[in-house]
Amino acid sequence: MSVWPEELGRSAPSHLRGARSGGLYGMAIALGVASVIGGTLLYAHVHLAVNAQEWPPQELEGPATSTVAFAALVAALAAAATMAAYRFVHADERDRAHVFASLLAAALLGAIALGLLVVSMAPLRGEADQHAYAASMVVLGGFVALLLALGVMGALVVAAWVVVGHEGSPPSDSSRNLRALQTYTAVATLALLAVTAFGGGS
């Protein structure tokens, strides 16, 4: 985590400014690793689809596409809420009440998206051990659900930091990283929607 030199009480010269912090690099790499995991699941899904005799099998009911779409919309709203929180953190007035409210909204929206995702996968209940298609959809959904859960926890933790005065003044990497995670999660939910819509969703 980096902070500006003057906030450390250091007499650093002016050229020690404008850094892209290691924390941001770390977050970018972590999301890159998540992309590899998601990409591997997607590759497995496509590999199985290409090599299967029937994909998806007619007797299986796919995930509810409309519910997944709704989950993607709510996940996007959660991302927007963290963007707002980030903007408030870096606004001159550093309004903690607004930051806290935005983060709480992000957590709530993330939880709703998570719930919707679970509901959307309900048609596959009991079918995941019957066919690789159902298993693959459940795992893809589980991957996105895990991201949503991490986003909810992250928003709650940073909101708690705001309450105890660790976030908002001075600004740290936390809200920026949370924004990156929530945005990534919203995109991942959209990708799941695409797989559901074009790969046998009901």
Binding site: L16, A52, A132, A135, V157
Partner: protein, 656 residues
Amino acid sequence: MTTEAVETADLPPEDRHDPVERRAALHGWDPELTRVWSAPPGLVGWLSAVNHKDIGRRFIWTSLAFLFLGGLQALVIRTQLAVPENDLVSAELYNQLFTMHGTTMMFLFVVPCLEGLAMFFAPLMIGARDMPFPRLNAFGYWAFLAGGLFVYASFFTGEVPDGGWFAYVPLTDTEFSPGRNMDFWLLGVTLVEVAGIVGALEIVVLVLKHKVPGMALHRMPLFVWSVLVMAAMMLVAFPVLLTASLLLELQRKLNLPFYDPSAGGDPLLWQHLFWIFGHPEVYIQFIPAAGIVSTVIPAFARRPIVGYRLVVAALVATGVASFGLWVHHMFATGIPFLALTFFTAASLLIAIPSGIQVFAWLATLWQGVVRWSTALWFVIGFVIIFVLGGITGVMVAVVPFNWQVHDSFFVVAHFHYVLIGGVVFPIFAGLHYWMPKLNGHLLDERIGRTTFWLMFVGFNVGFFPQHVLGFEGMPRRVYTYTEGDGWDLWNMVSSVGAFVLGLGFALFLVNVWVSRRRGELAGDDPWDAPTLEWSTTSPPAPYNFRVQPQVRDVSPRWHPADPEEDPELAAVLEELAEPYEGRRETVGTTTLDGQPNEVVLIATSSIWPFVVAIALVVALAAALYDLVVLGLVGLAVIVVGVVAWLWPGPARTEVP
């Protein structure tokens, strides 16, 4: 600052009972910086340590312990095969031994050892004070240790993994592997993979953000370049195996049929995913080993490496190309002809960047004024063995030849030539070269050279005959053979060689022990080497450098920067040498040209990474034995532990 060992009795009385003061005085370190950058005393302090040297050293010694366990398994294997129709071990135990041998060497020795070397030396070589996220670094070590012990715990339950280190399905599905054997493997290796990924993340951010001022990418030491490429590859390759392993575990535990063709799955999917990880894994091991070679040779040839930029390009090209070769492990699975052609061409292509490096090393030695040492002997041994392994690699890349020797002892010989010659010899070169920084003492040269010759002769006697055995049709992974097969002589020779090689490894341990007990104190720079790790004490202080250096050349010790060129920057660096409110601070720089652009706060010691790693292994054990409540407790501790780990300390003096 120089290393000046002083007797405790020489210290002022008030300093004799303070362990930090005593340590600082013994090594000539700055006492205040030492206090700020040291872990707390006692067992809790030891478990809380996050300093990159502590963690790197633990990675190195733990991985060497696993090397010796894996080596013992290899010796039992070779004893079993020394004579025909031997009944020393059963077929079942033999399967377990070769599985654990491969797993240990690939997952628990080579990569963790190289990561340990990277964690210890990369920050020193780029002038940093620590890794960017030291708590994550500590978590990586505990996760690695826990994962390794998790796999080895199977010996105590009698359910040792037995499906090979590649764990092919359907052999490893519940139908053919109904016990918990492969569950131990899948869950333990997953934990080790997680450790590898967090370590790789650390290394990438370290190299991109924490180089000292002036260290642009084109002035970075080759070892640092190599670990950067290694880490980037790990970030792409390891999550693939992690995902594939989780899918297989889901199939085994919950019957999700990803690899079951009767329910829409495909066993070949495992092979694809495994080798998308597995082939780059070989280069993940080779590339940093090549970086060690590129570090040792200039120091003993007493000149910069020939073709620095070409060598960097070769490292990067090797890393990129290695992701396009995985199918050459699957030539016998009925792949379409066009794919066979493509992957053959790609497999041949990768010999070019490797060749560039070999020529650069030879040219550096040719043009240098060579000073012989054990480290350099290991490098010479590496070049000879690796070139032989590379040639057989080109042979097995050719499809018709590959079909002939597939699953034979020829392949065993080939990959041991690549992995022992190409990786283990450079690691031993590095250990002989860098031991002064690890423990303050030089290794004994006479014992070192005896170690080298035992290993070199033992290795070649042990593994060269296996080429012949492969040509004569001996398959790999068979626990015995009959007298009439005609494989008796070469198997006996191979076994004798293996024991000589094992003697070499044991002698290395003796050398470390002797050097610790009564070895010559190394001083700061016993080799007159060009890179920054030799600018500090042996062993280095917890803060590495009192004043972080500036760099203007790829050999900063031979061509040091003049701090007066930029007095403003020199003043900042001098100011950072005075700890401010007990904070751990280091300078951050831009990625490409190493221009200073921030002061970075580094996390302090914390027990939470240890707690989270333990909770993680508890959760995995609960998954193994279907203990739902224990699993939930483990998950709850993980959540609480992570929040506590990330929670900022008072007044932001402590950062996560």
